[in-house]
């Protein structure tokens, strides 16, 4: 009995000791998708086996909760070793000097990043080596068959709304799906005006935004709940689509429809298309806090996640199905179908849209 107890205790000690050997990397990442979670479980197994690194996925509902913690941390070591971010959250951390720089030089596989990928600006702000792309998002519409035409432009959307009031809507800005919908409409209404890709002066802003507000003034009374209320998120909008209350939802994951239909979260009668002829395309990124105590290991994790093996696994439509950011030698068992890409407008347009939208429609 006693010897058995000692054995058990010894095993525990060994287990703890072996746990202590592997460096731990705390990876803060959105945990709302079982596909992403499973992919990270796979990556953790691989990293443990190949590099003796223990990757711990800290699941958060919204990555800005992690950003809040990081911004609130004083000098000293951070609890966060790695982050999955983009957009405003990245801007805030970069501005506060909280991120490790020079990543392209520190991560070997960064050399393999597809040069055609427009990753050096993130929502209009220069990346400057403070983050590396991990995957690609493409803004597109999920549309019930036989409703909207393929690749509808804003005019066709308005026409459809006039014929079928209450069947369309978009997530409420500043939720990023909602603002991206507005950016797509803005680009379309202004025929891809080049001034949308630079910071606007007040006159340009007024000139190019005027058609958007005119359009929305006409569209809103024809939307779900007469445009007096908007879905809180893309998730809610998709649920309304699934239950037949809407004919359209939006998504940023090019494989969303495939995965959703396989899991029967969306009916088979839904198809994916772009707003206008191209999808606003951006990257989502990995970044390391400057105060992370495990920077070498975190860099190794990024290097692994950008390896051909990890990127191929990530694009598998039976799993996450997220497009690769590196140039692949092997195109994979099943190449992903991507929409034609459209760049993001300059970030100042986003701020103007958010601010003026609230002033006009939230009273």
């Amino acid at each position: 009995m006693a010897s058995r107890l000692i054995k058990v205790l010894l095993c525990c000690v060994l287990l703890l000791a072996s746990k202590g050997v592997a460096a731990q990397v705390y990876f803060y990442a959105w945990g709302g998708s079982s596909e992403v979670n499973n992919y990270l479980r796979w990556a953790a197994d691989e990293l443990k086996e190949r590099h003796d690194i223990e990757l711990i996925h800290v699941k958060v509902g919204d990555i800005s909760e992690a950003v809040a913690r990081l911004l609130n941390e004083d000098a000293g070591s951070s609890a966060i070793d790695l982050l999955w971010i983009n957009g405003e959250n990245f801007h805030a951390l970069k501005r506060a000097g909280k991120l490790l720089g020079d990543l392209p030089a520190r991560v070997d596989n960064a050399a393999a990043i597809n040069p055609e990928l427009n990753w050096r600006t993130d929502f209009g702000v220069a990346v400057d080596g403070y983050e590396l792309p991990w995957g690609v998002g493409q803004f597109h519409l999920l549309v019930r068959e036989n409703t909207l035409p393929a690749e509808p432009d804003p005019a066709q959307i308005l026409t459809y709304a006039q014929q079928h009031p209450g069947r369309l809507t978009y997530p409420k800005p500043p939720e990023f799906h909602g603002t991206t919908f507005l950016k797509s409409v803005l680009i379309s209404l202004n025929n891809q005006d080049e001034r949308l890709y630079t910071s606007p002066d007040p006159d340009t802003a007024r000139e190019l935004l005027a058609p958007l507000w005119r359009y929305l003034d006409a569209l809103h009374p024809l939307l779900w709940r007469q445009g007096r209320d908007f879905p809180g998120s893309a998730v809610v909008q998709q649920q309304l689509l699934a239950n037949g209350q809407l004919d359209m939802a939006v998504s940023f994951n090019p494989q969303e429809l495939t995965v959703a239909q396989r899991q029967q979260r969306l009916p088979a009668s839904v198809t994916a298309t772009t707003l206008g002829s191209a999808a606003i395309t951006n990257s989502h990124y990995l970044a390391i806090p400057a105060a992370s105590p495990h920077q070498p290991e975190a860099l190794q994790v990024i290097n692994f996640l950008l390896s051909e093996r990890a990127q191929l696994k990530k694009m598998d439509p039976a799993g996450w199905g997220d497009p690769p950011v590196i140039e692949l030698n092997d195109s994979g068992p099943q190449a992903l179908q991507l929409f034609s890409a459209q760049s993001e407008p300059h970030v100042d347009w986003l701020r103007l849209i958010e601010q003026q939208w609230l002033e006009r429609y939230q009273r």
Binding site: D62, L71, S77, L358, Q362
Partner: protein
């Protein structure tokens, strides 16, 4: 009643560590950020008046309705069935209820041809209904405990012997006394309805949102303007919460005035009819329980189904795949949550016991307000200021900070349950025991503990449930080292995969209910009434 000097000091230290520090940390956090105050920006923000009136309207309607329901029905309802409802975590409950009562909800699928558009997502009415469903059981539960403190059966007899009807005695004598004892629970309900975030995000309108949700969103946005708005908005939230507490006192006062007047004169015909109509509210608690159980059933169904679109009564597929896939990943979070809750719960109850003895000794009149304060401050504000304070002390260990951060919330609820029972306790029992030569705490253990066993277990259970459901402090102060079933659930609920969310919600519910029922089993609602 003398407590040994040393023990008194030990208790004071304990009380300071457990409660004083968190609050002082929060208050200094608020004071040191005063440069962020920007009233102009706040009042210019689009939709601010609507945010404020929506939030206040919801809080007032929920509080007043819940008060009325409690007044008409605490007489007749057993509190046993309420326990499992109280333990349903908010998020799970909201998702379940919305899945039942929205226009494409499952309840209406049972009645084809009938369209009920009254309760949709993002309707103020839906928000109010869900809050009521959540708050009525809590309040009824508290009122049962409060009624045990009032010799209401005796009062009813006396009233009847003096020629008043039973109804009149109930309303004019018992109720004012009950309301007074429900003052703190009602404040908790009012402030909670005003500052709740998770339920509002799913159920309340968002053009504009409620003030609480808007402040939360500002707090998770990091531009300088958003920081000012978050700070100033947080203060406004705090001030209005204070106003709501005063509102609760006003409600109590008005009711007392009315009952005094009516005791002398007779009840008017209009008032009599109103009272009769109010009796209709009696069915609400039962309805609450039925809907709560249905919401639970909805969660179970969602966790094992696929392809369930309106208007299908049953899903296309039943499958255990979600459970099988997540099964091994669920347990660490469940075990962590339980372990933390056990430590937090025990410590909180100990703290409350000491505080209550000190209250007796020093006649602390405002202890309740102090203890309940953490419930009245927006949680994100509190937690971020704690994180800030902690960074000065160096990282002692993430687990310890998580446990520490749960304690103020658990203490508040443990206090709500234990304080009224303790107050009614006749301390002379202890005197007898002390006369036999036992030390104070020894006599406490031998005499008072058994007599208060019911409330003690109940407050432990509630303190544990509160700890289990903490999200923001666990995530932020735990630094990712402390994953609980609740942090897993919040992550899972942020996505479109309802099956995943339902699985974690059920596990959280099972843990919370398990704790509550396990600790109060067979002690029923009448325990501690010796």
């Amino acid at each position: 009643m003398r407590i040994d000097q040393v023990k008194g000091q030990g208790g004071l230290t304990l009380a300071l560590l457990g409660l004083g520090l968190p609050l002082i940390a929060a208050l200094t956090g608020i004071l040191f950020s005063a440069e962020l105050l920007n009233l102009t920006a706040l009042f210019r923000y689009p939709g601010l008046p609507a945010m404020v009136w929506q939030g206040l309207l919801v809080a007032v309607v929920v509080t007043v309705t819940a008060t009325l329901v409690v007044m008409v029905s605490s007489f007749s309802i057993s509190s046993k069935g309420l326990r499992s409802i109280i333990a349903i975590p908010n998020l799970a409950f909201t998702v379940g209820i919305l899945w039942l009562i929205t226009p494409t909800g499952w309840l209406w699928r049972l009645l084809p041809g009938i369209e009920v558009n009254l309760f949709d997502r993002q309707y103020l009415l839906t928000f109010i209904v869900i809050l009521l469903l959540k708050e009525i059981p809590f309040l009824l539960f508290m009122s049962h405990r409060a009624l045990q403190q009032i010799p209401h059966q005796k009062w009813l007899l006396i009233g009847q012997s003096q020629g008043h009807s039973k109804t009149k005695t109930w309303w004019l004598i018992v109720m004012p006394a009950l309301l007074k004892r429900l003052r703190f629970p009602l404040m908790v309900v009012a402030v909670y309805s005003f500052s709740v975030i998770d339920i509002a995000l799913l159920a309340a309108p968002n053009l504009p949102s409620t003030l609480a949700v808007q402040v939360f969103e500002w707090q998770l946005n990091f531009t300088p303007e958003a920081r000012q708005l978050a700070y100033t908005g947080g203060l406004l939230l705090l001030v209005l919460s204070g106003a709501l507490c005063l509102g609760v006192i006003a409600q109590e006062y008005l009711f007392r005035q009315w009952s005094r007047k009516r005791l002398a004169s007779s009840v008017t015909a209009v008032e009599r009819t109103t009272l009769k109509l109010l009796q209709g509210l009696r069915s609400l608690p039962l309805l609450t329980q039925i809907l709560g159980l249905l919401a639970l059933a909805a969660l179970v169904a969602q966790s094992v189904s696929r392809g369930w679109f309106y208007p299908a009564l049953l899903p296309a597929d039943w499958t255990l795949q979600g459970w099988l896939q997540e099964w091994q990943y669920i347990w660490p979070g469940v075990i962590n949550a339980f372990a933390i809750a056990a430590i937090v719960g025990l410590f909180s109850v100990l703290l409350v016991i000491v505080l209550l003895e000190l209250r007796r000794k020093y006649q602390w009149r405002y202890l309740g307000l102090w203890v309940l304060l953490p419930l009245f401050i927006p949680q994100v504000l509190l937690v971020l200021s704690w994180q800030h304070a902690i960074s000065y002390t160096g990282p002692v260990g993430y687990w310890i900070w998580v446990i520490w951060s749960h304690i103020p919330f658990s203490v508040a609820y443990a206090y709500l349950v234990l304080a009224p029972q303790e107050q009614a306790f006749d301390q002379r029992y202890l005197l007898v025991s002390r006369a036999l030569g036992y030390s104070f705490w020894r006599s406490w253990w031998r005499v008072k503990r058994p007599l208060l066993a019911g409330p003690l277990y109940l407050s432990l259970a509630l303190a544990m449930v509160i700890s289990i459901t903490q999200y923001v402090p666990t995530l932020i102060l735990g630094g990712g080292r402390v994953a609980t079933v609740t942090t897993d659930l919040m992550a899972a609920s942020s996505g479109i995969n309802t099956q995943l969310a339902a699985i974690y919600a059920l596990m959280q519910w099972l843990l919370a209910t398990g704790v509550l029922i396990g600790l109060t089993w067979q002690r029923g609602s009448s325990a501690g009434e010796q």
